[in-house]
Symmetry: D2
Subunit: 339 residues, 4 copies
């Protein structure tokens, strides 16, 4: 008798969904993609070719009716998340929902309330950085207080460029949201307030974005976080984090890989995009989720409460971007259910 295999349905067969189908099929132990769900049948069919044996279904309702899965991975755009999660929770399915949980705190809160009716958390949210080896090393360094308490975090988040569809609010809701989640997780605290400072505007990139920006946020344990958010740096995808402690400093994110000396300079490889940098983290995230589902823990990573907190921070951050000043967040106690 061989080990059990978790049957996963993937909702949403776009780029992100297809990548997840490929990872689940080729890299993850104990998983198989049993169904690909998308209203666009051609797209669903194409993605399903990556997973031999999977079926194509038009809707989540149809998939639930057909008992086509043991667990659900949601890879649709954000606006479709709430209704899909509500259906899956009703069917008591373990869920991995790509970030954001939802696009505003009110709907995220509704999901939290619905999940609190169940016996344990069922929802994991796709904040992939928590599965990156560098972030894990940094968190361990902080937890062990090897250099005393954490006092400050300096973060840099740079993309080479962004699509025309990228709007100013996405600086917060699509980009800094990763630092909101990661910094709170690293420091073991919630976000108390958010402020946005503008720098000189990059004139050779999209001027309407008025970036780069410097986002400042305080955590409930007084740690101050600053984030350079820069979506037109030109040279690559770069994420660095520097923790300032009572008795030292720790830092990650400098270039690694092959070091090349040519034509008057020494160069180091830079990642071209977040998929280069986070490829291993995506696999670790999916494997952790599959192992959790197989073990009946169901969740091993950021949960719906974390998703709700990120939605609160994004709402405050967007107000800070548009209105200026320091915007406070409602600070609520984390329910024991999500401890």
């Amino acid at each position: 008798m061989s080990k059990p295999t978790v049957r996963v349905a993937v909702l949403g067969a776009g780029r992100m969904g297809a990548d997840h189908i490929e990872r689940l099929t080729r890299n993850i132990s104990g998983a198989e993609v049993s169904a690909v769900i998308d209203t666009d049948e051609a797209r669903a069919r194409s993605a399903a070719e990556l997973a031999p044996g999977s079926v194509v279904l038009p809707t989540l309702e149809a998939a639930i009716d057909a008992n086509a899965m043991d667990a659900l991975l949601i890879a649709t755009p954000g606006p479709a998340h709430e209704s899909a999660i509500m259906l899956a929770l009703a069917a008591k399915l373990p869920i991995l929902c790509e970030k954001p949980l939802t696009e505003d705190p009110v709907s995220s809160r509704r999901i939290v309330e619905a999940e609190l009716e169940l016996d344990r958390p069922h929802i994991q949210v796709g904040f992939t950085r928590r599965f990156d080896a560098d972030y894990i090393q940094m968190r361990r360094f902080i937890e062990r207080k090897r250099a005393g308490e954490l006092l400050m975090l300096h973060c840099v988040h740079r993309n080479p460029s962004v699509a025309e569809s990228y709007r100013p609010e996405m600086l917060i809701a699509d980009s800094v949201v990763h630092e909101f989640d990661a910094a709170a997780w690293l420091a073991g605290a919630a976000i108390r307030n958010v402020e946005v400072r503008h720098a000189r505007t990059n004139s050779v990139a999209r001027e309407d974005l008025r970036e780069p920006i410097l986002v400042l946020f305080e955590l409930t344990n007084d740690v101050l976080v600053d984030v350079e958010m820069n979506v037109n740096c030109g040279f690559g995808y770069q994420v660095t984090t520097e923790g300032v402690f009572e008795q030292g400093v720790a830092r990650f994110g400098d270039p690694a890989g092959l070091q090349v000396f040519e034509t008057q300079k020494a160069s180091f490889g830079i990642d071209e995009g977040h998929s280069d940098r986070l490829d291993d983290a995506f696999n670790a995230e999916l494997q952790a989720w599959m192992d959790a589902v197989a073990s009946e823990r169901l969740v091993d990573g950021p949960n719906a409460w974390d998703g709700y907190q990120a939605a609160l921070a994004c709402e405050a951050g967007i107000r800070a971007l548009n209105e200026g000043g320091r915007i406070d967040l409602p600070v609520e106690e984390r329910p024991a259910f999500y401890a």
Copy 2:
């Protein structure tokens, strides 16, 4: 209908065998450990607990008789390799054999001759570095001739310390053997001769080892390789490779990971042992092998010819260590079967 799963028997339930059982079970897609084979039943049973559903068998013969596997992973000590491989070849099983293929070129050659009777290569040899991301980047850099032809390779291979059982010949056969295979693979050529130079002997470590040593070998394309082999460096496991090209230099292996500033210095993490450094490479190696077996290619990595070449280089290297001087290897054409 789900995707097919390859049933793997692991021969040898020591440390290396157990690690492979755990990886195949927890990290590799499309594989399951169906049998653990070891004459030491208690050891076999303990290792088999890592793989739910696996059976324990005392001998490879018994496992073949029981049709207990689709593929065989050999993780016993080197002296047992030849007989196991011969049995498995007779049963036409795909094989992943931990390095060395065998401990001398004559027996390795016998294996090559036996395999040449089959329709295609069935044996992959466990030279894990070929699956390490840094080595793969370097090989691609060399192949693309981005900085012209490769001229020299400087290699460093350092272990923090070695067990009492480590004998001087193992400097070559257990340690430099990795550079023999990796350098020939990187440069796309065979080894022509080997020389060993002694440095001042490390007196605070095992003096009988008379190390560190500098091993020099030429390849058939005139590339000169030097290897610092140092098994008592004290501080960690460190493998670096620097390629000198006609128009530049490329290098990997400097410390990476969390950079810490404390108490008058800045430090970088160093791997403690080869399992830290090569953990991802082991997974990549096993996944590549499993995918090859499932696809009927059977082998995707170093093959028996490469194992035979490494055995020739080790024999020459040990003579160079013991007798001094430059020792030539018989240079033979790679058979088309192994192209």
Copy 3:
């Protein structure tokens, strides 16, 4: 006939004065220390031993009366600067005044007004970073717009610890003052406003200092500067600067020097104090000043207007530290006299 030698009087024979006497005597071409001026005769005599042939005098007035110098280096504490400068200006002496020019903008402004009566600037202010090779490389990178316009500067300024006499306001007036001057000089603009953000307070260091702090200031060309000011980091003296540009990033200050691998880590040398880091810059500063004096340019470096601007920024920074909020500076046009 040999080249002329500039006779320098050093006012103030404390640690800083003695260091300058030693540098002028041992390292600087075309200079000799002709007089050491200090009311503490024993201290003056001790420092004068570093400069064979120098005389000891009790007051600047006495030194001027004795025609004991061609140029004056002021190394007394800040409160004594104004009166000394006024005397030296009246005597039309070239002056190198250690920072600060004076401790408040009103008195600095008085000095500017007095100097404007002369035919050309006579006062150079000791902002040594402008003579550091890294800062010079960065300024050149910015001026050449190699990566487009400068948008942001991230600065880190860390001391291992500070004396008991260090008061909270010195975080701004003694420490961040270096970044005020350097950032404005690098970016070619003046400071528009200053804000101070507190992080979690370092509890294993002096809690009354409530540091580290993050100082934010905008320049008149919209460049945003953030400075981590941290005087109890424990591990050494560290100054880093990262410029964010429209098409790239440039950075300096990472550890350099001997790289050592021992006991599970790789370490890089860290400077123990600012004299380690800035030793070459001090020599460059003095040599530049001496060459300027010999050439009748008199000043080659930051001038009294720069000193006045720094005093304005410090006043605003101390208010921001004590009162919170963003404090504006009066932005004035740089007089042509100081162009």
Copy 4:
């Protein structure tokens, strides 16, 4: 009364001589160039313009007759060194002789014998690396045995390209000679034998040079040194040294300075030539020599014995290059005179 100034005559007004004249005039304390000696009067006159007050003389004899100097700096090509040194020794002048002392060990030995007739060493040889901050740090690290005894040295010496006049023997006599001197000085031992290994030849550079080469030499304390000598690396001037110790490793020479991120890579500044890298070392060398001359020690750096040892190593190295094999050096005890 001001401090005394050493009057230096510079023999040879080519590029190297002119550079030294400029340094002595602009950067060195306590020195003045009193005479420029060259049979090419126009060249001498042009160089003398860099040193106000200096006179131009056609020959060393004339300069000695005119009592035109307190010390002599020899910057002519190597073949002219012996006769100039003999004249200057007869006049009991302190000498700084650019490397090599002479071009063969027999003539170098004659100089040693002549100098042994004097009361103390008068000759310093221009091996500038001994005054470089990185080499000094490494030597201190070795001497303090911080990581135990030194066992091996890995050296890299790369030039971007060389002039058409560069001949194969210059790989040893002009280039590796620096490592001969520096390695023996770092390790505190003499050179016992030299061997040269060829790599694949760089075909896009000068093929007649048959380089890069790997030069191996053993020291009398059993330390093994390998040197990659590469005069067509294309990208810059790069000198690295890695010491392997009983309990660790220390290394210098990786790129430093401004770190730039642009267009898919991170780059670090590389020196363009040895004058970039060694500029500070040249100043330190000249200042040390001037201070030694002023103090009656006369020499503070590599002496004639070191020059003679380097000549012996070059002779052996050129034989090894031309004939192959390991060439022994006559190992002689360092006379107490040169201790």
